[in-house]
Amino acid sequence: MNTHTVKVVKSILANNDVVAELNRRRLVEAGVVAINLMASPGAGKTSLIIKTLEALRGRARVGVIEGDIAGSIDTEKVLTAGAQDAVQINTGGNCHLEANMIQTALESLDLSQLDLLFVENVGNLVCPTQWALGEQLKLCILSTAEGHDKPVKYPEIFAISDLIVLNKMDLVELVDFDRSFFYDSLKALNPTVPVFEVSCRTGAGIPEFAESLLKYKQARP
């Protein structure tokens, strides 16, 4: 019996990446900008979707894929807030979304009726970063209450995000959030990433955030 070495040099997630690329093409062809929303549980993913829906009402058609462990409560909330369409993914207790889950969810959405598509990932700062879904934008939400040290503790999510939302700015004084510590460490990881400071409670900063998404979409008809 002979043994020999076969070179592979392939990402373990290669098969996920293939499906993600199919999703991405499908979304781009339909002119839909998909945003992968990643954050800890409670950072304000659903709240940000709802506030953005309200800010863009009548100006953009927004779909939502709810992947956070939630039942269908959040799906109903976003539909009430004005989402064009929403689907709930049953993650089966998984700690992150994978591209094939999005592929299935896209089946039940009419992409021709959408401009933007929010994908609320499972609440987790760690593994959602490793599974591409086919999104055009990766958005990380950090809430001030979680602490300014999060970029140091979870560097990859801050390093790979295209946009950062710093939420719960209404609590910034109460929770001793050290802004310069936060911005210094973020800058080391991702020097040019735009940061939007918002409060989903007071609505501060939401218009600027919503406008930037709209602009991004308008540049990609």
Partner: protein
């Protein structure tokens, strides 16, 4: 955490590659896993022992090489690999530029018997 799902992706690729190479069985799988890939060796081995049964990999050895998060400090003009919870330069305590993210998840090669 999600080692089962990762392991089934590995086996899909390895079994396919082995089949294409006309192999009778796989004797070794060489992985490269970054220290920040959020994968625990023991959990990978455990998932492997469960999921490899009845496949070409049933008797293979799962070998894991690790890579580290690394930075370059422009002030000190040196590379450093910081501990996982503090990525400041150990000399000047500034934060350098990231040069290796330590998140590799690669199947480097397999060894097969035919």
């Amino acid at each position: 955490m999600h080692e089962m799902s990762v392991l089934s992706s590995i086996l899909e690729i390895v079994n396919q590659t082995a089949k294409e190479a006309g192999a009778e069985r796989v004797t070794r799988i060489n992985l490269v896993i970054g220290e920040r890939a959020n994968l625990v060796d023991d959990s990978l081995w455990f998932a492997f022992s469960l999921l490899s049964r009845g496949t070409l990999c049933a008797e293979a050895e799962l070998n894991i090489r690790h890579t580290r998060l690394s930075f370059y400090c422009a002030t000190c003009q040196s590379n450093y690999t910081p501990p996982i919870d503090n990525f400041r330069c150990p000399v000047c305590h500034q934060i350098g530029q990231i040069t290796g993210d330590g998140r590799e998840m690669l199947i480097e090669s397999i060894e097969v018997a035919d």
